[in-house]
Amino acid sequence: MKFVDEFRDAELGRAVAGEILSLVEPGRHYKLMEVCGGHTHSIYKYGIDDLLPANVELVHGPGCPVCVIPMGRVDDGIAIAHRDGVIFTCFGDMMRVPGSAGSLLDAKAAGADIRMVYSPLDALRIAKQNPDREVVFFAIGFETTAPSTALTLKRARIEGLRNFSVMCSHVTIVPPLRALLESPDLRLDGFIGPGHVSTVVGARPFEFIPADYGRPVVIAGFEPLDILQAVAMILRQLAEDRCEVENQYKRVVPYEGNLRALEVMAEVFELRPHFEWRGLGFISHSGLKLSEAYADLDAEARFSVPGVRVADPKACQCGEVLKGVIKPWECKVFGTACTPERPIGTCMVSSEGACAAYYNFGRFARERQVV
């Protein structure tokens, strides 16, 4: 398949791995964070870790939108879903995220009308087909997904649909990165920047990382060669004592982003003063809510929600995993009490979560090393 096969070429992969080897300084340990869960998934799926020298460590960042949703928001969603006449819609993986008393999937089993959708447009279609029901879409995701929700809300407004609303839990990528960089227990040498988030926001929002924190950023695609090349580009910057934002994913990411997407987001959303991230706590101006112009389509205003903050389970170390302080297998419950079938923490839920990715692809390689 075009745009895919040429970025999975094994011979080229070995050549880039050789280039990486030539760029590392012996005795120096490199810690690079891949911000995005999609990268984490690809790294484990294709065994990219195995192609890197032992002193180049990839640390998994907070870029999985499922993994960062706190339990209290799941509880709020479930409370809406249990209301009479409500059809609650969400993306598939969100259904399995544990709240304080079960997941949306458990609520569905208990009788709530909860439906999986592939896009906000699907939720809008359900609203048109069920004019006597209230249809709520649980919107999650970074700037990649937010424009899709925004366009759907505009469409709902134009078409005069009154039985559709959105529970907005969209988040933005820059504030958690800044919070991570301010974190005293984390030392990073560079960042693999999120590819498709950058399709929307462009490369400019990441310029603060080299400017304020002196760390290189390389925006990368999701195929194995993309990630390997991004690692090589970061190492080359470090070797040449350069520090800037580079774009490895130029075939998709324009430096300025998608201006139409940014415009529609600015019209439909506004920043929340604070938003809670699982494991990272409250981060200022990191979440989106509906703007005044669209407030009547805000599910949280239309339905009363508990809005209670729920602490993460004590055994769960998703916070440390999300900050890259520990590796997934270093969590006390990894692979024992917490598995993709019965997740305790959100990092084990989505296939982009560091724990699930490692559980599904990486643990066998580690077992081999132990033996």
Binding site: C36, G63, C64, Y118, T144, T145, T199, F222, S351
Partner: protein
């Protein structure tokens, strides 16, 4: 059940960074939508408001039902 099983793809569609190249089959100019096809032949309606005018045969990078960029254009 893994996330991938749930979503029917390698990546979870929930992920902010899931993007799929789809080929345009037909355009609904009035509603700003395009009927697109996956490599396996399954079809999906895609919002095209964020990209320049699309034509049948174009390849779009689609996330959560919305085209984010045009990968290939048929003039």
């Amino acid at each position: 059940m893994t996330g991938a099983d749930t979503c029917g793809s390698h990546h979870c569609i929930t992920c902010g960074d899931d993007g799929v190249p789809l080929q345009v089959v037909r355009i609904d100019e009035v509603r700003g939508l395009a009927l697109c096809t996956h490599e396996d032949g399954t079809r999906e309606t895609v919002e095209t408001a964020l990209v320049d005018a699309v034509a049948p045969g174009d390849v779009l990078l689609v996330h959560a039902g919305t085209a984010l960029t045009r990968l290939e254009h048929t003039p």
